[in-house]
Amino acid sequence: MADVLDSAGPGARPTTLFTTVTLVVLGLLALAVVFPFIWMLFTSLKPESEIATFPPQLLPHRWTFENYENVWTRIPFARLFLNSILFAGGVTIVSLLLDSMAAYALARLQFRGRNVIFVLILVALMLPFQVMFVPLFVTVHDLHMLDSYSGLIVPRATNAFGIFMLRQFFVTLPKELDEAARIDGCGEFGIYWRIILPLSGPAIATLAVFHFMYNWNDFLWPLLITSSMEMRTLPAGLALFVGSHVVEYGVVMAGAVLALLPLLVAFVFAQRTFIQGIAMSGIKG
């Protein structure tokens, strides 16, 4: 197994006792952290009438899949799922490209006004959405982008958080690589595409997961921009089970479980680049 390599962590081979203790502590902590999800999972397998009871039970008395059936039939789940993939996936791909390009300029290129631009980009993070949403809505409306994929994706095509994160990461890569490439006659885009990006696997993968997850779960933005069920995303669909007075807990939890799965898969995939990252940084030395 590749990760049996003593990974980029300090210390000689740790003692078995230390490892066991660490494992136990982490295991208990992880169980505590994951507990609400265990509750959610079991709740999704209970009929609605069993959910608010006293004394409370974790396990269902009558196991049922009716909540999952409801999620599938009472809302256009497949369409919502597809829209979520298009929205979150589209934003992730476009944003990774634009973020990394901007980060490259900020991290690797010397030019006048670089620090000012850097601070300016950070400024984009500083006004909360609850203040900006009115002018944002008006802008999207004026550009005739309401209720369309472009209206959903273009305002998110770049992300100051992503630019900042990648800039910090690019800065750690040795500058000799760039210089060697420039001497070889490689253009800036070539350096960016063929040297910097491949070396940034873990950071790019992490950012990809963040972008995907943030947009996958984003409730308010798609609701604001879209006004038809065909364009809606999954969170908006799940909200249809949360009434103003009555909440259908079982169905909501079932929907939440289904919505979590793609993200979990994305995370597990992203983790693989971490292991590759170790191998690369070893060779690099």
């Binding site: 609605e48 476009v94 409306h141 309401l146 609701l223 006004s227 009434g243 103003s244 007075h245």
Partner: protein, 408 residues
């Protein structure tokens, strides 16, 4: 160069997508509302029925939670992209009427027409108007009643639901059990809920605002706040800081004897096999009273098809629509000529319509209702029930705040 080309093609694709995405070949009537949850199928069915009968102006309905819909509605109306018809809680009407964005429908409200005011209760008529003009038509009507747990009553030896405040307080005290296996006599949520506390004030003859003036410092209001505040603080008849959803969960779990809420809980409680019933809220010194709530429909002034919009809006008021809503959801029909109708097959709808004559709306006609409720009233209640202030002081303070607010 490669990058510029990529960017250009991306822009072209984006523009093309928007142009194609926003083409509207039919002339749909856009309708926004917040009927998520179990009410949705009924609303969708009625809308589809109307659309099928009017194929030239099909309804394009957008359902999302009320909070985000209202957030979007402001921005949309202000930028001229609002829907043709929108449903919202009656309390929102004053601010939208003042905004100038919604249509004055006074001419359409006339006896014998589709929107006949003679079948509306006085309270309802009042909240559909602003400054003497009609701006909204009603979609539904809810009243609150007292749900009680029959098993808990039986165990406490209470044979009948209380009818007066004295009986009520006695029953509450009898069914409240403090300690580790607690039981609550009467659940009183104070935020994120259909208003409960105003009913307790009205029952004593008190009020928040009376005849346009703050009434919190009136002796009857303070009397109610003192009585019920002490019950909450000292007798622990209810948890403090309760939200509406918390209260419903507690009642459904059999942890409380009584809860005041609307008809929407009946399906859930019945499915949970709770042994319960509803009764009118016990009468206090101020007379029998309960709270009314209503979702109303307004028409965008900028709508391109006012005739279709009006027709759609009036549909909800029709006998057929009201019967369907009542029978599906248990809400009482909003038309007074339907109470006691043999076509009303839902027993809960029939029960909830018995208290319509004594129902009142909370804070009608107030543009600043959100501030009054969130910044003045609820903090006052919490100050009392958390024991931070005595009822008289809290009420006086709140009254001053209310004066300032009303004079703005």
């Amino acid at each position: 160069m490669k990058r510029i080309a990529a960017l250009a093609s991306a822009s072209i694709v984006a523009i093309a997508a928007t142009v194609c995405g926003s083409a509207a070949f039919a002339a749909p009537l856009t309708f926004w509302n917040g009927f998520t949850g179990p009410d949705r199928p009924t609303i969708e069915a009625l809308t589809k029925q109307w659309s099928d009968a009017h194929p030239d102006t099909p309804v394009q309905m957008d359902i999302e939670p009320w909070d985000s819909m209202l957030q979007k509605l402001q921005a949309a109306m202000a930028s001229g992209s609002g829907p043709d018809v929108v449903a919202f809680n009656f309390a929102q009407l004053p601010r939208y009427a003042e905004s100038g964005f919604i249509m004055d429908i006074t001419d359409e409200v006339k006896a014998g027409g589709a929107l006949d005011p003679s079948v509306w209760s006085d309270g309802l008529k009042q909240v559909l108007q602003y400054n003497g003009k009609y701006y909204a038509a009603p979609l539904n009507f809810a009243t609150l009643m007292m749900y009680y747990n029959k098993d808990i009553f039986a165990k406490a030896g209470i044979s009948e639901p209380p009818k007066t405040w004295d009986e009520w307080v006695a029953a509450i005290k009898k069914t409240t059990v403090t300690g580790s296996n607690s039981q609550y006599g009467l659940l009183i949520p104070d935020h994120e809920t259909i208003p409960n506390w105003p009913i307790l004030l009205w029952g004593n003859g008190g009020d928040v605002i009376k005849d346009g003036k703050p009434y919190l410092d009136d002796a009857k209001t303070i009397g109610a706040l003192t009585l019920w505040g002490d019950l909450v603080l000292n007798d622990k008849i209810t948890p403090t800081g309760l939200s509406g959803a918390d209260a419903d969960k507690l009642f459904q779990s059999g942890k409380a004897a009584m809860e005041i809420t609307g008809p929407w809980m009946t399906n859930g409680f019945t499915a949970a096999k709770l042994n319960y019933d509803v009764a009118p809220i016990p009468t206090g010194p101020g007379g029998p009273v309960t709270l009314a709530d209503s979702i109303v429909l307004v028409i965008n002034k900028a709508t391109k098809d006012p005739k279709a919009a009006l027709d759609f809006v009036a549909m909800w008021n029709s006998k057929a629509a009201q019967l369907k809503i009542a029978n599906d959801t248990g809400f009482p029909p909003l038309r007074t000529d339907l109470s006691g109708s043999p076509e009303l097959t839902n027993e809960w709808a029939a029960k909830f319509s018995t208290v319509v004559p004594v129902s009142r709306f909370s804070l009608p006609g107030q543009v600043n209702f959100a501030q009054i409720d969130g910044d003045v009233f609820t903090p006052m209640i919490q100050a009392i029930t958390f024991g931070k202030e005595k009822a008289a002081e809290a009420a006086q303070q709140a009254n001053d705040q209310l004066s300032d607010l009303l004079n703005q």
